[in-house]
Amino acid sequence: MRKPLPSPRLRLEEQPTRELIARGEALLATHDYKDAIDVYKLLLKREPQAGWRESLASTYLERAKQLASKGMYREAAVLWENLPSLCGQIRQPELYIDWLLQTGQYAKAMRAYVQHAAALSGAGELETRLAALTLAGQKDILQTLPQDTPLRRQLSVAQAALRAYGQGEAEATVRECLQNIPIRSPYRDLRQALSALLKLDTDPAGAPALVERILPTSPYHDLAEIVRACAAREPARAMLALDSVQRDLAVHLLGLNPQQIKLLKEWTRLGEQPNDKTLFGFITNNLALLDQEQARQACLALLAVYPRGQPTYIKLFGPLPSLEAHRLQALQAEQEHDLRRALHHWQACVGELVKDRKNPDHRLMAALVLRQMAELAKHEDYSWEDESDVCKYLKQSLDFDPDDRDVYLKLAALYKEADDDKEYHQWVERAVKQFPDDPQVLMAAVATATARKAYKKAAGFAERVLELDPINSKARAVLINSHLAHARKQIVAGKYALAEKELDSASQLERDNARSGIVEINRGLLAFKQRQHERVYHWLKEGIRLAGSPLLGWLRLAVEASGIKLEPTTFQSDLGLGDPRKFTASRADLLTLTQWVNAYQEEGVDSISSVLEDLEKPLKRAIKELGKEEDLLSVCECFHQAPHYELLEYAATGALQHCPERPIFIYYQIYGRAEGEVDALKGRDYDRLEDALKEAKKAEDHRAVMRIVHFIHQRGLFTSFPRPRGGPRSMPMPMSMPPQMRREMEEAREELEQMPPALRERMLNQLLDSLPQDDDFPPEVQRAIMKALLLGGDGLEELLNMDMDDFPMPSPGRGRPGGRQR
């Protein structure tokens, strides 16, 4: 079926008057003055109504302004000229005169000025322009200036002032002339500009204030900008913003010599962001004019980004000291992301610096360089098989500068991440010895003491933190937990009075607005042990109320009860809590639960997983409602630490719907699915983990990288050897390979490649003969693998594709390849 043709639009002339009126109003509202003029002209043709005449006049004026705003002053003036004949009205003649002046029609402008003098309103800006033109010597204006206007009357005093300044009269004489110009004169901007120019001679800093009130529309505004540039702290920089005419005047005012002017011209030609080569060339070419030492330093700084300038630098300033040469090479290598080269040169810098160990600056610089090396090593070293380079460099740095608190804490954190508890605790202890009054160090000490179940020690540190920082809520929580832990011990030991005392102390430390019900629940449990049944339910109900929701109350009750060897179900029916599986949890409840579970986990409470079993269903329902990435991250991290694999996998799967490719969620999902066991990994999941690792490295998501590497290295190192993707899980390589070793292997391979065949064969055999004995592999397998690794990919592929029967696998008693024992 054909579409009906649209009804033809009526021509303007055919439209009824009512529609025309509406159209005219609509066009005005949208600033479409051009079409509105046609509409109102038509309306007036039909009926000469006064209101439409008024509208047409306004429309003409607005259209003229619109044209002027586009720089079409001539067209604007023509339109304005039609205004009186069309509408019988004269509106804003000052605009018309200004447009004439803008187009150089001075005689016509002056005639209009005289003719419309009575209708001129707010003509200050116009008169300032006329005054400037008069001073500039425009004859058309001078000849027609009316006798009795301020423009004419004050012209001679303005000219006298200009002459006095320009002819170099004494400051007092010029000031006297300037004072003759009244403050409300059309020549006032000249008065201010000349005053500021005079001030540049004696007090440059005070000059800009004098031109502050010169408007951007004033003819003297450019002069005001020159004054500001000359008075600037760095005139060279300020002059970049001036045009060439302004700059010539500024240079004259500043009294620069020809060489300086040449330098300034070159400098302004460089623009705002010259490249390094141009900049280097600019400095070296103008060395004679610049401060030698500062120029040398600027060139030295440029060498890091423009190494090709080194020969010129050496020619001009002499050879680079060894330390500088290595430092520049290291910085260049860093920029080229060549970390190995950067580390090599930084190491050389340390070598140079320690030659003069007694120099305190050199010692501190050596420490700083080593810390920089640790930062660099962090990017490529995620293996903790041996002590990492990161730790090695950080420790060395303390030999030269033992006063950097952050290094101790960094080392502690690194060892904690690497699950090396012994080193972790030791580094915190060292930090405490070095910085006994530092709250951050003391809080780290609290954490290590808590992890070791040294609650008394933890409480001691927390008390000290509270002395130093009374609003530290973490320290307060630690103290409360410490009293609670003592209370539990006393309850189990049957020392109820002492337990009550500990609970009182915990209660006193709790802030009224932050009561979580934990003390009340413990009071209830203590009452149960004391067989004071009427108090049991009073305290337990109060504890659950303070917990905020039945689910949170149950979590507290279940964990606290198991802490003193009671079954939480004992109280379930009397408390009227109902079936935990039917609880509901809001987002806030879920986030509070993650905080509490994390705190319990830090305390080493081991009943968390089983308590979470009871709450699995309500927690899954609450997790399903989460949408924010940071919430999902907190929840996943909590179940990862708890650990609760099913909830972790569930939460991570939900998170991946929101952030499909985020490596950390991929890791959490796979880790949960494999229940934390790398052996339970499926081939596809291994591939996904490898991809996630690459992504995480690319995105510098260190947490994700650390977690994934820890997981897949759980049973010794798997190395990234080529293996068929998606196929059955290939055999993990039989040897651990920390990055250092991998580097050595690469170096050996490169060396072998460069050798003639005969020598290569001999060298290879020597290397293979020197392999240490391996319990897990027969020597021939070990040699075959090493040979494949050293000779490159083909051999290795061949090796990996061999039938598994060809490889005598170690017996179960001897451990699996890459096994835990290794």
């Binding site: 001073l135 900049l279 401060d291 920029q335």
Partner: protein, 101 residues
Amino acid sequence: MQNPFTVLDVVETADDDAIKKAYLQQVREYPPERDPERFQVIRTAYETIKTRRDRLRYRLFQHKTPNPAGLVAAALQPGPPRRLTEQQLRQWLNHRLTSQK
């Protein structure tokens, strides 16, 4: 980045006290409410060389393209001040008023 020592107008061997004094002096001259851009430059310069450790760190690892504006500014030390002539002013005014046509 501008040389922080030049920004604060201190010698490279200046100690913590001298640098703090120079910084406060600069802030008094360019308070943030009056010249926020300049204040930011001063603040960054101070943070870069505040302590001995900072200064050595700057000396070792500074590898951004230096901004030699200060170097050029120092070379452009004004000579004896000169006035514009009457003719220069009239010419400029004429140029200014007619160049907008």
